[in-house]
Amino acid sequence: MPRELTIGFAGNPNCGKTTLFNAYTGANLKVANWPGVTVEKKEGRFQFHNSDYRLVDLPGAYSLTCYTMEEQVTRQYILSDDVDVIIDVADASALQRNLYLTLQLIELGKPVILALNMMDIVEKRGMEIDTHRLPEMLGVPVIPVSARRKTGLDILMHAAAHHAGHPSDTPLIHHHGRGASSMTKSTRPAKEGHKHQHHAEYAMVYSDLIEDKIDQLIDELQARYPGLQNYRWHAIKLLEGDRELLEKYPLSRPDILDRSYEQDIINQKYDFIDEIIQEVVVNREERSAVTDRADALLTHRFWGLPIFLLIMALVFFLTFTIGDWLKGYFQMGLDWFSQGALGWLQALQVAPPLISLIVDGIITGVGGVLTFLPNIIILFLALAFLEDSGYMSRVAYVMDGIMGRLGLSGRAFIPMILGFGCSVPAIMASRALENKRDRYKTMLITPFMSCSARLPIYVLFSQMFFPEHAMLAAYSMYLLGLVVAVLCAFLMHIFERGKTSRDRASNSLLIELPEYKSPSAHTIFIYVWEKVKDYLTRAGTVIFAASIIMWVLLNFGPSGYSTEMDETFGSLLGKWLVPFFAPVGLGYWQIVVALIAGISAKEVVVSSCAVLFSVGNVNSAAGMASLSAILGGMGFGPANALALMTFSLLYVPCAATLATIKKEAGSWRWTAFAAAFQIGVAWLVSFLMYRLALLVL
């Protein structure tokens, strides 16, 4: 049986690579991380003419330097034996920039097919690309496709299959107007001081100075490191001063590697690209009128911001109004299911602890998390729409000024706003941020935004202790959360801020703004499906385990299974933690236990209080009166209530959020740090609020 063919998909961000990839694989994807790094790796399989193909989606990259994780992963993978052919997806309407990556991919020496995507847009704009001359100049096959209209897909796969074994069977025909001869010729005595005639061998030929050095380095590398895959590529990278390769293959030839030739190499590549564009593209039009008109409004210096806020309000409305409406039905279904399971288990005469574990622990825990599914689906439909249409990148520009002052990317605004609804999708949305530092910072502060699950706590305690100003007390919590989030971001920003504006530039905004387009339903569907699958997997694993742990804590004690809360490990833990909570006015073990239980889901704080203080129907007037009387008898007054609300707002987010943070950050250590940080902030702010309230109230 012939070995299945592995095809790597490479390309710039926004070139339609993922759409093309999805067009082949559909939703049948395996998503994992590249070994050792948190860069996503997508793999799919597909059959064509009775052969099996394995498709690997490489991270979007503009070049193949060692400066970013994505680029390192891409080039290491292409150099490995795992991949047979590279399909380089290029946005034909921005060929000039896309060809830069193409030239580098060709240099890596693996068979490359150039897929010219978005040819429909090129035609619509009245441009023409000479698809006969282009392969002659590059020495690789060029196949026009449209990922959105699914045209050219079979031809592309056919070319890939045929091209697999032959890196360079397309003849290269260059007639350079200026030619390499007009470049500055090396004065250094080169290998033989010869004129280089590489134009029949390589698409990209550099000036004689650089070609001399490449030849010398190849000799040197062959002597020192026999068995390397592609000497020319290694030589070029060494000339560029590539850190990774200089460390891996040190050469003591300061005469050749006298400086970094990176800039020369970049410039000469772009010179060649200019030459290609001159010959190949007819009726070149740099800018799209549609995008210009849309941008005139959407990125307007005054209107850009209100329009964005309006769009976010709409997303928020859809997610939490329609989502919550559907969630109600989910909840009903869950109640019905849990009642049914309870009855069924009782009929089977299963031991009560086991029934409790299944019904109170697992079904309630996992089911409670599943009820967020409608919110998540709607939110990610909306976000996928914004992303695929090209608007999302503009958000970074529109919000840059305001968020920039907090040292955050403009896009960090989206997770923060979504945090008012639910921290889980908000943290998932932080993945859209461009850099890791921003993602981590956003994940630290997003849980401070008061999610809807915390509202029941505010409602209960503000009605009990601030009956006249209940609304005000509840809403001030939302404001407090926002202030704490902004303050934390600002403090972190000041702490890490570079001294000069030249240092700051490294964290400054730099993002491509793709052309606007009508989003593809297929891409959106696959995007949403991936998120949902992700979320479901988590509900089945981490949250499942967390539910069991919480159940054990609250139902087991030194004497075994117990239905009395004050005999459980939870209450022992609560009593043990009382000294820690006393300074903030929460030194009551029942309150501490309720807060611990609230980690499973924040609204549980309310139901736990009801159980711990043995008050039935805590949300009714009578229930509230009796709870308030009990608490009052313990010396728990308005200042304590304020401290409790503040602490509930800020302390560790719920288990589902923690699991999401773990997933996005890829590290338990960092997740533990985030939790500790949030407890610290919660304690500090509650302490201040409590002391302040004692003075004022």
Partner: protein, 77 residues
């Protein structure tokens, strides 16, 4: 002058990048280096701007724009 001082609708030619090495290399990979032509499309009062380089639009923060030396093209409009 630097790019930050430029005005929307005008075309500039890059003279130099006074930026940390990695950032400079990233910009160069995007086609922005000495000799490249840059058009400022839009600009906010304080800060970020939208430019085109080699047919592609980018949003650029002020801290970067400030360190890109440019000169006006003769046919700037």
């Amino acid at each position: 002058m630097n790019l930050l001082e430029g005005s929307p609708g005008s075309v500039y030619r890059v003279d130099g990048l006074n930026l940390p090495l990695e950032l400079a290399r990233r910009l160069e990979a995007l086609g922005l280096f000495p000799g490249s032509q840059v058009t400022i499309l839009r600009k906010k009062r304080r800060g970020a701007m939208i430019i085109t380089v080699r047919g592609t639009r980018f949003a650029l923060g002020m801290d970067i724009a400030e360190h890109i030396a440019v000169r006006g093209e003769s046919y700037a409009s």
